[in-house]
Symmetry: D2
Subunit: 465 residues, 4 copies
Amino acid sequence: MRYDLIVKGGTVVTPSDSYKADIGIRNRKIAVIGELEKAEGEVVDAKGMHVVPGGIDVHTHFDMPFMGATTADDFATGSLSAVCGGTTSIVDFAIQTRGKSLMHGLEDWHKRAQGKSLVDYGFHMIIVDLPENRVKEMDEVVREGSPTFKLFMAYPGIFMSDDATIFRAMMRTRENGGTICMHAENGGVIEVLVKKALAEGKIDPKYHALTRPMTAEAEATGRAIALAEMAGVPLYIVHLSAGDAMEKVRDARARGLPVYAETCPQYLYLNYDDYERPDFEGAKFVMSPPLRPKGNEDRLWNGLRQNWLQVVSTDHCSFCMKDGVGGKPGKVLGKKDFSKIPNGAPGVETRLPLLWDAVQAGKLTENRFVEITAASPAKIMGLYPKKGLIAPGADADLVVIDSKKKHTISAKTHHANVDYNPYEGRVVRCSIKEVMVRGRRVVKDYKPLATPPHGSFVKRDARSN
Amino acid sequence: MRYDLIVKGGTVVTPSDSYKADIGIRNRKIAVIGELEKAEGEVVDAKGMHVVPGGIDVHTHFDMPFMGATTADDFATGSLSAVCGGTTSIVDFAIQTRGKSLMHGLEDWHKRAQGKSLVDYGFHMIIVDLPENRVKEMDEVVREGSPTFKLFMAYPGIFMSDDATIFRAMMRTRENGGTICMHAENGGVIEVLVKKALAEGKIDPKYHALTRPMTAEAEATGRAIALAEMAGVPLYIVHLSAGDAMEKVRDARARGLPVYAETCPQYLYLNYDDYERPDFEGAKFVMSPPLRPKGNEDRLWNGLRQNWLQVVSTDHCSFCMKDGVGGKPGKVLGKKDFSKIPNGAPGVETRLPLLWDAVQAGKLTENRFVEITAASPAKIMGLYPKKGLIAPGADADLVVIDSKKKHTISAKTHHANVDYNPYEGRVVRCSIKEVMVRGRRVVKDYKPLATPPHGSFVKRDARSN
Amino acid sequence: MRYDLIVKGGTVVTPSDSYKADIGIRNRKIAVIGELEKAEGEVVDAKGMHVVPGGIDVHTHFDMPFMGATTADDFATGSLSAVCGGTTSIVDFAIQTRGKSLMHGLEDWHKRAQGKSLVDYGFHMIIVDLPENRVKEMDEVVREGSPTFKLFMAYPGIFMSDDATIFRAMMRTRENGGTICMHAENGGVIEVLVKKALAEGKIDPKYHALTRPMTAEAEATGRAIALAEMAGVPLYIVHLSAGDAMEKVRDARARGLPVYAETCPQYLYLNYDDYERPDFEGAKFVMSPPLRPKGNEDRLWNGLRQNWLQVVSTDHCSFCMKDGVGGKPGKVLGKKDFSKIPNGAPGVETRLPLLWDAVQAGKLTENRFVEITAASPAKIMGLYPKKGLIAPGADADLVVIDSKKKHTISAKTHHANVDYNPYEGRVVRCSIKEVMVRGRRVVKDYKPLATPPHGSFVKRDARSN
Amino acid sequence: MRYDLIVKGGTVVTPSDSYKADIGIRNRKIAVIGELEKAEGEVVDAKGMHVVPGGIDVHTHFDMPFMGATTADDFATGSLSAVCGGTTSIVDFAIQTRGKSLMHGLEDWHKRAQGKSLVDYGFHMIIVDLPENRVKEMDEVVREGSPTFKLFMAYPGIFMSDDATIFRAMMRTRENGGTICMHAENGGVIEVLVKKALAEGKIDPKYHALTRPMTAEAEATGRAIALAEMAGVPLYIVHLSAGDAMEKVRDARARGLPVYAETCPQYLYLNYDDYERPDFEGAKFVMSPPLRPKGNEDRLWNGLRQNWLQVVSTDHCSFCMKDGVGGKPGKVLGKKDFSKIPNGAPGVETRLPLLWDAVQAGKLTENRFVEITAASPAKIMGLYPKKGLIAPGADADLVVIDSKKKHTISAKTHHANVDYNPYEGRVVRCSIKEVMVRGRRVVKDYKPLATPPHGSFVKRDARSN
């Protein structure tokens, strides 16, 4: 038999099993798995290595204007960073413009990505302005392959929706088969605390964290769950950071509710102490929700193992420290006022390496790694069974991981267009050996192989019921 | 020894003890408790009966304009109804007028009560409009003896405050020694559900309940607790009706937070089925929160025993069914639209009889009865140790209960100025024999004795810390 | 390419994925999965059907003497029943003889199975007598491929061990890499209740259930967990029947403890009401733990979905109603005294059909079906990755299920050697189409194909750590 | 009016109230409370001080043979120690002799106390041997005024009962109106751990704690609750030490079960670190359950405030360090084997001072102090309303506490007959000013006033229902 590509000799990892097998790829899809001794075709040597499904990062912000800045990474550099880190699909966020239709915002983001992305991509639709007469616009967004709406309980005056609006959106989403994604922090509380801090002359980056208490996230998470339960709609909590918020998700799931949550590597590996770094360095970690007090990480690790958290995404939202892309200012915007520091940090490239390092450390099984980085996000977000699995018929999005090599994370070597890395100097016990996007070899030994973009927009499925 | 009044031969009940003793009253206060064989003075015979502290009802609405109607009871008829039912102190609600100062509203209510009330009274201050420059007005209200602020998470456009406003009020209250009282229902969710129901032609009284789910109360209760925890202020949930909401209070208290809640007799004795009564009769029970599904009552009874609920108040807010007081329309306002039915029901007169009947039924101990009707409300609301206890030095507010007589509740015999009673025909195993307000006999055998009002405004204490 | 056998055109189901693929089998193992258009070999047609891993039933009692009777099924008829129901591996229980070595008991059971079983098999070791000098015998049992020890907290005087003995066994098992299986019911409490019932003349089968309260199981489950936690050893609760017991398992797992539990179809499909059947028919359902009150089933179903329960086994332990095998008496032994009814019921043949019917009913996903019937038991019991998965290199134990055909369960058609079926007349929405044991076709259309036994003893792995 | 004694000018403290009042005593009972300006009689000056009910310690071991030693304190010295510390009633433990009747043991203890005790006393009955034919003996013990039975889940071979025996005793106690007191630790587990430790040469006092894990107590507590729930009998957990055990009690109570627990000052003030003291000094703290790891104390304090724990008793069981009373050896018995150290420590004298110090520290209110030291034990143990309250008609057992004086705890000044004090050198912010036992002044300024014993056996009431 002849295949377009054969991944040979590796250990294939699925959410339930690990086994030695070759993978035969034909027409950009996986054709066969097993012993392919006499098969012909181009060979990717995976001997002694693990073969996992291409990473799916369902939370990135490329080419996003925010807080007077624009993210350092657009779809070209962002997707390059992604694929070099083993991520072969992303779901980014299209933003509605206040006063304009949802589709208008969606089309804008299609243009930003078109022809630039090295990885496959989809969009969540961020709703910022939903009077009753716009509610029905949501259905078209679902039909066009973006069945996930993001709403904010934080950022009053910018993104925040009140409960009536959120609930109205949920009621419609129950009908149109979509899922609600929620940024769950109580924006009202935070606004009061931020004003109070600034009035007291507290301007350093750490006050970003100190004005966004864990309880503000846990409260909003509980509220989002209650609203979704009353509306009868699935809910997905984005970038969950606080153990207390996680327990709200846990309890909802125990009652059988369709509630899901993602956390991000920064909440698993970093903590509040990073804000105490001198010389405005804490600004690197200014993101929302903020890093949490030491000890919180272990609660999240346990939650990942227990399936109280289903997904690890990145919330990749990069801003330079010194000066931004194209002459626009970056984090320094908030040098004298923490509340003006553009929120966000890069991460799309380091997610898989950091989590595989956790496998090496015994914190996760390799099977759970596949579940949280690929299978679960694909299933929850409507990319499955096209993506997120290694099985005959699936897209040949594959990553070969070498566990015997080590890799040092650094802004000097990363592929993102941003002048710092939150994990600078950290050594992970693995190396991304090969990355294939729909059967094409794109990265080898952590270097991009091919210049032309291979990524396409992927229509995602609504719930069938 | 000579006393102004001697209550003789009864069983005195306190939150921890029951014992036979006489009570000697002098200068309107309790002077001595024990065997007073040779003492002289006017005697109230309490032989074979129980003597309990005068009831304290910390949730009444007398002379209140609301939803286009005005409550049927003003301070004259309301306090008459109260005292005939064994309640000797109330705390009513003064309402801020939008755009005006808090003190302006407080003074308005002082005028409404002045010279009319048969019982002692105080005011909670309802905040409806709290821009930042008004926040400091709260301190004066506390100083003037009304250290409790009520905020609403429901009734958007009328009373509802958003989370930032609530949190701002809480932060100030932490400083000024007050306590926050909260109507905890998610008004945004309810608004959407009400509109949807009406659009679907659902106009009957029962839809009042069906558009206010338990989860909307539990959510808001949890949110109020989270906000209060972040602000570091005591919180008192008013008219808690849902078992799920109660469990939020329970869990907060288990963590040592100063969170309290009252329920009302209607949530203990009535349930959703009452809305299904024919001929618009369900309107009698239209109040917020609504009556809950059968089965919920038992959860509340358990919570009362466990001290997860600390107080039973009434939320007495009476509207006539047929035609209102002074020609103003009553419940019929909502004949064709449940959302227009004035919310509220009478109750100030039946609280003690209904709860003592629960003592007879073994659902509460007589000691717990005293705690939830007098001692706890007095302590939480700053009336203690002036009121709420039977001890030397306390105000001689006393009630003699005859457990051997039965009493039938009826609008025909009650003293409230309203044309129905939610418990019409219910027989309770007790009778209010005597009521003394600060040492003066006011009610005997369920009949008012004296015409002139005895009640005064009682300045309540702020927290000392 | 040439294969010994090709399962063609089915939908392969794994714990995480379902996909259309052919399966090529060579040397009794799965060689390749995918599109095998040009492959040669004997073909099993699975078009339109599901292909799942052969069922693994880790709780059977074949050829067991108990309570004065002997089970109706030996390894010949038991394994026939198993394989006709889609189960290709079992783990049965070898019983120590009091006063004799563990190995003596193990060898006895080897003899009972030898040359008779149609399916692969292993043994758990039941410990009944463990003085300190026998403790070290446990290690040899582990080394000989039976790394699971069963202990009883019930059946005083027969099987029951006291806590010191249990704890001693656990401490040793921590060292030797084994796992403790526990029958968790408080035998002391039950003994007192049984005596009391009999003394009061309560002799009917239903008193079997009424003298074994849910709390007696929940208590013992909690105790077993506590002991295992203190010993640092994995624990597997057998035949968990009570929702309250399940919650103990749930809470232990949430703390990260290696605690597992199986339930059985009888606890998911039957309930206490079956004991109320007339004419001693309740005896059919006399087993320990007993069937639980209606409503308990739903708690278990939820637990299965939530992974609070990991396995469904059968506790197949068949006794005839009328007269037993080989002239020995069956359930009638307890006609006048419920405590003498031999405990147990058949089930090995109906497990997969009943659970696949639950898939059809939407109670389980097909992926979860594979997990609880094959993957999880294989992993927990040391049979993995030889068994319990469909992947290259695994034993070709495969079952083809036809979801379009219905099947009526009946003692008239079942293959077990017992004169009743607890599910008599129940219709399931599926049919066992084909069963392959290590690549050999053994059953077709619910009929055994081959006469000679194919089963072998399978050495199971101890924990590596 | 004339009184035998007047306690003048103090602040009377009850579980719910604190108020200034005089107390008039006549015929050894409280006659009247209030302003007694013109009353005549001997005066105890309590101005500026608190007057609380005499302490009730329901867990002492005086004159008890145990582990080859005998307690250092008999009823003379023990009760002297008690009353000097403000305790006016105790309940001690009568022990059944194996093979003899319960009444035989009870009578033995009556003799030990007769004519010696300075305080009133009662007995719990320790059951060590309860074959079925003895079960009915329990009823007589109840009738004779000792309606509380203590059973042990620890000390195998000495006191431990198996679950069947415990359950049998509980079933009978449900009928006879008694209450079960339980020493809840898993004796089987502990036995295995002790043997293992000794076999490994671990002989120091700290191994006493390390072989009695918190989980062994939590398990047994949960088991006792389950058994009591199945039997339908009230349960009282003695000397609860572990936060995990407390949570079992908390959860049972939340379900409305009649489950109670006491803790002791040692578990509130001391912790595991005390075992690490050099030179065998750790032996001073060898008691069962042992002191728990630091941090556990705060859980218990919270539980005391939350009413998850209802009582603080002492488990006073004193053994000398150097040489025992009457030449018998003390703690040194276990110099070379921690398991031979007689278990127990003194405490009856320091309970009230330590807990009032907690009042001063803001850890407890003074009202809660009265509840846990007097009111609750009196109510649970059947001494109420004779004892445990300050009210007309109650026994005049009164203690005057001076909060302005400090007191240093020391073996040099304490009145117990034991050569060390676990709290040596600790300063408490209060002083026991006066102690009255049934209206007689017994202690003044921490010195005994009268020589002849005043204490009598007090018949305690069984439950009425």
